[in-house]
Symmetry: C2
Subunit: 370 residues, 2 copies
């Protein structure tokens, strides 16, 4: 039996930890009292308790195995399987998730990932610098000028802010076309291409019209908010167009912020986002206005996104949430070259100095990664 | 200026409450330091602090107003606007959400809701009894027989378990067709139609094939998991087919369970789900294996789903999570006739007595609502 294994930490469990583990295994798989489950069905579909270990005075670690078939080869169903109903139990946090090989092979994973990003921007071996176009309400020319100066300075990736959302696709087309042209202009000047990722939101026809526009401009990828749109919905929308996608973490703090509930950052914004096929995953990371809060989850998240023990392509880890240009090289120094740092406000504040300061920051990152 | 107003409760705030309120207003609207926001943009797009009130020793209530335009007339963007980035702030809970009239008129709301459900099942004025087809792995005949006996007993609504998910749409078609036929057979015998809602999951073509099958069978609605699929993605998929939908709360406990973080049940599974157009919203409610945990949120959630002060059709509130047949009439007694109670395991356990026990439960509910 191929099992998906999930590790939960139960803090001050509301019942005997062994009973709780059995309850979770059953709740998440068949959601029925044990005596109503036939042996045939139990053997094939019932979750099973693998281990219960006391961690300290208050916390127990519960390892549960779920038959692989329960995920139905769908990333949404996988999410539901490991945390759907148990999200209503008090103080249960999912902290580790391991998938069997045959399931890993059937889930999408990134279509491009870190390797393709490096190839597009022609940066083989250092940490990357990303910026964000904002604020909403800015004239299109202002946003395009920001993209242009960042790319001229040698910046690697420009993304739209997740607040850039248009009720009318015509406004989206105008804005994205102007920014794409700015990036193209810089590429002609510098001989190197910056990667531009517009933010696409909404659903149905509205979503598809925006993706049409992005594909029509020949862009390589988009920004999506999987914890708003749905992880599988986001992944499917990008994949259907052959677009790479950056997973923005909006709403994800709901899962990661409470220390005794939800899903730990390395699982949510590492393992699950990579399984779903995000090519870039933004998470708070070290320093700045918003930081990854619990222990040293930064390294664990980078590891989950990039480790080579799975058949999936690596996803580029990106630290976001109010980072400064100075923090970019520090992050590279600490976490190595396979990461990106998103600098927004600190860059915009530099006004006419953007180009120069980006070039200097890239040089510092180069040194840090040398 | 038309404002969306959001009320947050900050528990043991990590900075001065007035500063925190200003930070949230800015984070959620323009996400930029104040000095980099022009007056023109601020006037049109910047969130504003409406009120800061101390509730007790540990808690402050922060009322923030967001310009209506920021929601871009999209339910996903509304969600992002009121909790996207602030989800990463410690101990901030969204407890109330009020929309201005012009935005309410542009959001979908239920296409059928409580009124259409009552009309289909011909039950004008009592609480409703719902059951669930499970467990996964059961032969199709077993599930169809359960649906048949429930409908013969006079049960009102049958839904698929959210764990019933097929990797192959052909399996979905076989199962759903058999259950739909069972309901039809019961309707011919009893002269009254039970409402059957199959669970539809996944994304892209796979999702569309299942919706094709449901529409082809002439069924009225489906079960969707909006906190897995994405709230707007789920709503859009159902609306595009003219199908009603039941919002299953899988994963929603991530938001509702921590008492000092996330989004309160009346907002998440009440206001937001109704705005998105769910015709039925399941939430834990009173009693059973899983209960609504914080204060008396049950009445507030029912109120958010059904109050007539908005132009939206009312959504049917449904209490789920291990309720018993006995609890069904008790709930009707306490919360009135505009609710449903979902009874799963307790019904399945009755085996050959299902039909009789359903009829008796309906009679008790009838009395409770008389």
């Amino acid at each position: 039996m191929q099992l998906i294994t999930a590790r939960y930490v139960a803090t001050q469990p509301d019942r005997d930890p062994d009973v709780l583990a059995e309850n979770i295994a059953r709740e998440q798989s068949l959601e029925l009292t044990r005596n109503l489950i036939s042996e045939t069905i139990a053997e094939r579909f019932l979750g099973r308790v693998l281990d219960v270990t006391r961690l300290d005075q208050k916390r127990w670690q519960l390892d549960i195995g779920y038959p692989m078939e329960l995920a139905s080869q769908q990333i949404g169903q996988l999410l539901q399987l490991v945390y759907g109903n148990v999200s209503f139990y008090p103080r249960i946090r999912l902290v580790r998730l391991t998938l069997p090989g045959p399931l890993l092979e059937r889930l999408p994973g990134p279509i491009g990932g870190l390797g393709r990003i490096r190839s597009i921007i022609e940066v083989p071996g250092r940490a990357l610098l990303m910026t964000v176009l904002k604020p909403r309400g800015s004239p299109v020319d202002t946003l395009a000028a920001l993209a242009l100066e960042f790319a001229r300075g040698g910046g690697d990736i420009v993304k739209d802010d997740q607040n850039l959302v248009d009720a009318d696709p015509a406004d989206f087309a105008l804005r994205v076309t102007a920014c794409a042209r700015a990036i193209e202009q810089a590429a002609q000047e510098t001989g190197r291409r910056c990667l531009y990722l517009p933010h696409v939101a909404g659903s149905g026809d509205h979503l598809q019209r925006q993706l049409d526009i992005v594909a029509g401009l020949g862009l390589s990828g988009v920004v999506l908010c999987p914890w708003v749109m749905g992880l599988e919905s986001a992944a499917g929308a990008a994949r259907a167009r052959g677009l790479m996608w950056l997973a923005h973490p909006a709403m994800a703090g709901t899962f990661t912020e409470p220390s005794d509930h939800g899903i730990a950052t390395p699982v949510l914004l590492g393992t699950l986002v990579r399984l779903a096929g995000a090519d870039i995953s933004i998470f708070p990371g070290p320093g700045g206005r918003i930081q990854t809060g619990h222990g040293d989850e930064v390294a664990a998240t980078c590891q989950a996104l990039t480790d080579s023990t799975t058949p999936l392509r690596p996803t580029l880890p990106c630290f976001g949430g109010g980072k400064t240009l100075e923090q970019a090289s520090a992050a590279a120094d600490r976490y190595g070259s396979d990461c990106a740092v998103l600098v927004g406000g600190d860059l915009i504040a530099r006004g006419p100095g953007i180009r120069r300061d980006v070039a200097a920051a890239i040089a510092r990152i180069d040194s840090a990664c040398a």
